[in-house]
Amino acid sequence: MTSMVLSALVATSFGLQQTDLRQRLVDRGAAPEFAQQVAQVVAGARTSGLPVEPLTDKAFEGLAKGYTAERILPVVQLLADRLRAGRTAAVSAGLTQPSGRIVAAAAEALGRGMERTEVVDVLRAAPGPDAASVGLTVAASLVAQGIASRDATRAVATAYREGRSAQELLELPSVTSSWFAEGVTLPEVVKRIHEGQALPFPPGRAAGRGVVPGLRPGTGPPIAPPGKTGTKPNRP
């Protein structure tokens, strides 16, 4: 009896959610038929236990950017397929009930060209669920910059195994991006990543150095002219 009541409640809630999504899409300018199609994709994903936020987000993004329904719907469907693959990868990594964020991040990583085994490597190296989704996002971002997926995977997995935090890892794409902006070649960027140059210790990196542009007491003048020294030492 209890399970029947629960089922009824879930079904009612589910129906309300569907109606709500359709209405929100229509309110944003979508045709009712398109809204219905998106809602069906979302319903299928929800039934499969997949996170639906990435799907609705993709639909809203497409609408906001002015794409047609014919363009948006295949993208949403493709993303649903990726989410399924992402969840499979997460389960392969030993996560029996992966969170929606992890599944979404895994789907993103797969969508950027990472292999399932690479996604699994990152998930296994991450110290926790939040770190896992950040690691996948970072790896996908590196791949989007042109770095081979195996190199991106190795960089993220190694960083986690060395005890780096997710917050530190978020620095990685910024650093590689700045290298590319400076004209550093891809092989050199990969080499630097593997040497650990992309993740120096984060806080206080400048403060301890005391690097001040100029002279400090005891360092002498920029150049000592001959005959200058030894004649009037400033010793007391």
Partner: protein, 356 residues
């Protein structure tokens, strides 16, 4: 002369022997005028090695100069830092440094020091405190122990940085306190810094100032110039003025200092769930930011006095896909942001909201 030659070999040959990541050579000239009106000009050849890996960083800089009067002088300076993060915001470590100055007449001076430091970063501000103990040898051949305590603060915002460093020094019978303030501005191609300093206690001198600039003229070369004043120092040099101009040539280029975000696009935490997003977008009449946090409903951005566009968003730490709506018609990824495909043939930016 033979010693000068040996030093030259050291200057130019060391890069091949040391596992430095960044190696550069400097060719230029220097002119200095001292408090007692003795002046000298010299042609200068130098080398610099830099190494950075994990929490270990080091610089070695050396030069040999031949004066217009025929004599030569050589200088060597080195510093290294071995640091380790102890929390997300704190680091501790050991800093070492030293210098060596030698003149043709066999006169030389040197300093060496090492000590621990503690640094804490909070937002754009980094504060540090350090102690050091060392040794100095003066040009008149006396030597004594030295000790310093310093307190530094550094503030960075966009292309600007502001530093304040107070250093108390005890050396033999000398007691002095130096306070320097540095303001710097840099782009990928240009770096400008100005320094002002005052001293109280022994070896008192007038306040001093220095200006330094580097301009990249090619991916492998930059012009460097500096001028200003310097104070008396522990090893026997009086105060004076100097001007240098040279070209630095990268022989091997290493990694830049990593930055969080970019100058063009950054997110600052204002509270547990509030973030100020700032970006530079020239030529736009209106800018709105949209993303996965609110069904891609554009939030208008406001242009501040410096010309940057800002908006305050209700976001918790994380990574968010986002894009800009420019002039109400054009969607673009935020300039300078990390980007990824939007699956529609375009790009979206990744907005990284750091933890507190």
């Amino acid at each position: 002369m033979r010693a000068a030659l040996l030093w030259g070999v050291l200057v130019m040959g060391t890069p091949a022997l040391v596992p430095a990541q960044q190696v550069s050579a400097l060719v230029g000239g220097v002119s200095a005028r001292y408090a007692d009106s003795i002046s000298g000009s010299a042609a200068l050849v130098g080398g610099r090695l830099r190494y950075a890996r994990g929490g270990t960083r080091g610089d070695v800089e050396t030069s040999v100069a031949r004066f217009t009067s025929g004599e030569w002088a050589a200088q060597l300076g080195a510093q290294g830092v071995f640091a380790r993060s102890v929390t997300r915001h704190d680091a501790v470590g050991l800093a070492v440094g030293g210098s060596f100055n030698k003149l043709e007449a066999g006169i030389w001076s040197a300093t060496a020091a090492a000590g621990p430091f503690l640094a804490r970063a909070a937002g754009n501000v980094t504060a540090s405190v350090s102690l050091s103990g060392g040794w100095a040898r003066t040009v008149d051949s006396s030597a004594f122990a030295t000790g310093t305590a310093s307190l530094g603060t550094r503030y960075e915002r966009g292309r600007w940085r502001l530093e304040s460093v107070a250093v108390g020094t005890a050396a033999d019978t000398l007691r002095l306190l130096d306070w320097t303030v540095v303001a710097g501005w840099r782009t990928p191609a240009v770096s400008v810094a100005g320094l002002g300093g005052v001293r109280s206690g022994d070896l008192a001198s007038d306040p001093w100032w220095q200006l330094r600039a580097e301009v990249a003229i090619a991916p492998w070369a930059a012009l460097e110039t500096a001028l200003g004043q310097y104070p008396r120092d522990l090893t026997g040099f009086t105060s004076g003025r100097f001007a240098t101009l040279g070209m630095r040539i990268d022989i091997r280029k290493g990694p830049p200092v990593p930055v969080r975000g970019t100058d063009a696009f950054r997110a600052e935490r204002l509270g547990a769930a509030r973030v100020r997003v700032t970006l530079q977008l020239d030529g736009a009449r209106s800018v709105a930011v949209a993303g996965e946090w609110n069904d891609w409903v554009p939030t208008p951005m406001r242009r501040d006095a410096s010309g940057r566009w800002t908006a305050v968003l209700g976001l918790r730490p994380g990574v968010y896909r986002c894009a800009l709506l420019v002039d109400g018609a054009r969607w673009v990824a935020p300039p300078g942001a990390l980007t990824t495909d939007d699956d529609f043939g375009g790009e979206v930016g990744l907005l990284i909201v750091p933890e507190a």
